[in-house]
């Protein structure tokens, strides 16, 4: 009973947030200084007649509630309008660029979580040691670092002609290189290495810090003392009793952090010309291509809301106490 109510409450909350995003997206591009037609006209010095025609095309002469109904209906039918820059439907443009970002963000999330957790566990276990102090300092410094700056420094060190030239400067594959088979995968892997490393280093510190403090919290609990008292070895205490309980806050943080990862992906993809959604956002920004920007913003928001919902559900599953409260 409790579980079902918890589930429903969380899903309703997520739907509510989604509706809010939709309303916000609508007003943002319509009410803020001028409407899309005026913004376009300012960019391109269109004659007055052309602006009127654009206004008619966008349905800007309809009453506002009617416009909103049209917009919501179009969005639900996955019709996001036509990109100014690519002259193709926004949905199509976005679809073509999703996979590189999923690959980059996926590899970076898995890599940073695994390494971050291990560093955090070891740091908490050997609290106050040189390793612990070193990893704390490292976490604070990487937190203070703009990830795109780190990316450019890595480029100079490992890819530029004055560096080691181990990795390519950008893109996802060598132009004219192998398009299938093992050779293709290796080629993509070589291109993926530096951008993924940048994101992993940028995210790592936070996970290590959370895991460390959460494990330190747990280590003081009575059942850890009991486990030690009944003669378990330190490694067993850690693996069987301390770590599983300390994992809880970290698991949710990984999902909640997706918004931050998306932001990181935007700048890192720009630095490495990685042809994903982040680079597409910057291209849309420079054009400026408002329908595309609006579509991307909606997609990013939905992705983060869904990730939050998943985090809530995982947390409810892992920690029954949450469901009751």
């Amino acid at each position: 009973m409790g579980a079902r109510r918890y589930l429903t409450a969380k899903v309703v909350q997520a739907l509510f947030t989604l509706a809010f995003v939709l309303v916000f997206n609508f007003f943002l591009f319509r009410i803020l200084p001028g409407n899309p037609a005026q913004i376009l006209a300012r960019q391109r010095r269109l004659p007055v007649e052309a602006v009127r025609e654009l206004e008619r095309d966008f349905g800007l002469k309809d009453p506002l509630p009617q416009q909103f109904v049209n917009y919501a209906g179009d969005t639900l039918r996955a019709n996001f309008g036509i990109s100014f820059k690519f002259r193709r439907p926004v949905g199509e443009v976005i679809q073509g660029r999703i996979w590189p970002t999923v690959l980059l963000v996926g590899v970076a999330t898995i890599g940073s979580t695994v390494i971050g957790l291990l560093i955090g566990i070891y740091g908490a276990w050997r609290r106050g040691s040189g390793f612990d102090m070193g990893s704390l300092g490292f976490s604070l410094v990487t937190y203070a670092m703009p990830e795109f700056w780190l990316g450019m420094i890595l480029l100079i060190l490992f890819a530029s002609t004055s560096g080691l030239e181990l990795f390519p400067l950008g893109n996802i594959r060598t132009p004219g290189g192998p398009a299938s088979g093992i050779a293709h995968l290796l080629d993509v892997g070589r291109h993926l290495f530096l951008p993924a490393l940048t994101l992993i280093l940028a995210l790592l510190g936070e996970y290590a810090l959370i895991m460390r403090s959460s494990l330190l919290d747990v280590m003081g609990d009575d059942y850890i003392v009991t486990a030690r008292a009944k003669g378990l070895r330190e490694a067993q205490v850690l693996r069987r009793h301390a770590v599983p309980n300390a994992l809880l806050p970290t698991v949710t943080l990984v999902a909640l952090n997706l918004g931050f990862v998306v932001s990181g992906a935007i700048t890192v993809e720009t630095v490495f010309s990685w042809p994903g959604l982040g680079l597409l956002t910057v291209e849309a920004l420079q054009a400026p291509d408002y329908p595309l920007l609006q579509g991307l913003f909606l997609l990013f928001s939905v992705a983060v809301i869904v990730a939050n919902l998943i985090a809530d559900l995982i947390y409810g599953y892992l920690d029954p106490r949450v469901r009751v409260a």
Binding site: T161, S162, L169, S263, T267, Q294
Partner: protein
């Protein structure tokens, strides 16, 4: 302590910029160095692709970066404090509505939202402050609300109300002074985030094109191909400055939090 020293150093550099470096070195016309010269005695941190001294750019950039950081934080604090206090104090449906709104801002990914806002508003110093201010307040609002909820139940607030004090009096004389230390500690952490945000937005070309900040130096460096041409001296000074300042603010924030929040002190 180390944090305070670093902050003091950068504050002095920002204030004394006209004494430390000639502002004529900022315009491409007044540039005297060669194209992308590595560090030398004349140009201790080398030159950029227009022949400007990177050291001069970094010194002057500290002014805009710190200024945006402070003003954006001030704006975010005001919004966060007003919403947090109002929600905590009034309660009921107003609280629910305001906290839903706050939660929503907390969930929306920061950078896409900031990009959309900045691209619609246009490139200017004022707009970048506005964008960072209105995207970074929700954390403060939640903290302030929680503190307000506990403060308003205290006996002296009840006593003041019994004596006939109005809402305005209670909020300004009793709630605000008790919530303020928390807002202040939070401010310092928000400055760090605001400076990082300025850097990111400027890097993406959303900063004021006429003013030089650490973010715009990095934007120029990226567009000028500093990374592929191996011009490390173009990237290192602004980047190290950002890391140091953000680190210093973070350390001061945590230190202050520990002083104001006795529970956090190590047992």
């Amino acid at each position: 302590m180390a944090g305070l020293i670093i902050l003091g150093f950068f504050l002095i550099v920002a204030l004394a910029a006209p004494l430390l470096a000639d502002s004529r070195g900022l315009s491409p016309v007044g540039a005297t160095g060669g194209v992308l010269d590595p560090p030398s005695l004349d140009y201790p941190m080398g030159t950029d692709d227009l022949g400007r001294s990177v050291l001069t750019l970094t010194i002057w950039g500290s002014r805009i970066s710190l200024m945006v950081g402070f003003f954006a934080t001030a704006l975010s604090m005001v919004i966060g404090a007003v919403i947090g206090i109002a929600a905590g104090y009034y309660g009921g449906w107003r609280e629910t509505a305001m906290m839903r709104f706050t939660d929503w801002f907390l969930v929306i990914p920061f950078l896409p939202l900031a990009i959309v806002l900045a691209s619609i508003l246009g490139r200017s110093l004022f707009n970048i402050i506005l964008v960072i201010g209105i995207t970074s307040w929700p954390g403060t609002a939640r903290l302030v609300r929680a503190q307000t909820l506990s403060v308003k139940e205290r006996p002296y607030v009840e006593r003041a109300r019994a004596l006939g004090a109005g809402d305005w009096h209670l909020i300004t004389r009793h709630i605000l002074p008790n919530v303020f230390p928390l807002i202040f500690a939070n401010t310092i952490l928000v400055v760090a985030i605001a400076i990082l945000s300025e850097t990111t937005l400027s890097f993406l070309g959303l900063g004021d094109p006429l003013r030089i900040s650490w973010g715009t130096i990095l934007e120029f460096a990226f567009n000028g191909g500093a990374a592929s041409r191996g011009a490390w001296w173009w990237l290192l000074p602004p980047g190290v400055a950002i890391v140091l300042v953000v680190l210093a603010f973070t350390m001061c924030g945590y230190a202050l939090d520990e002083i104001l929040n006795p529970r956090l002190r190590r047992r």
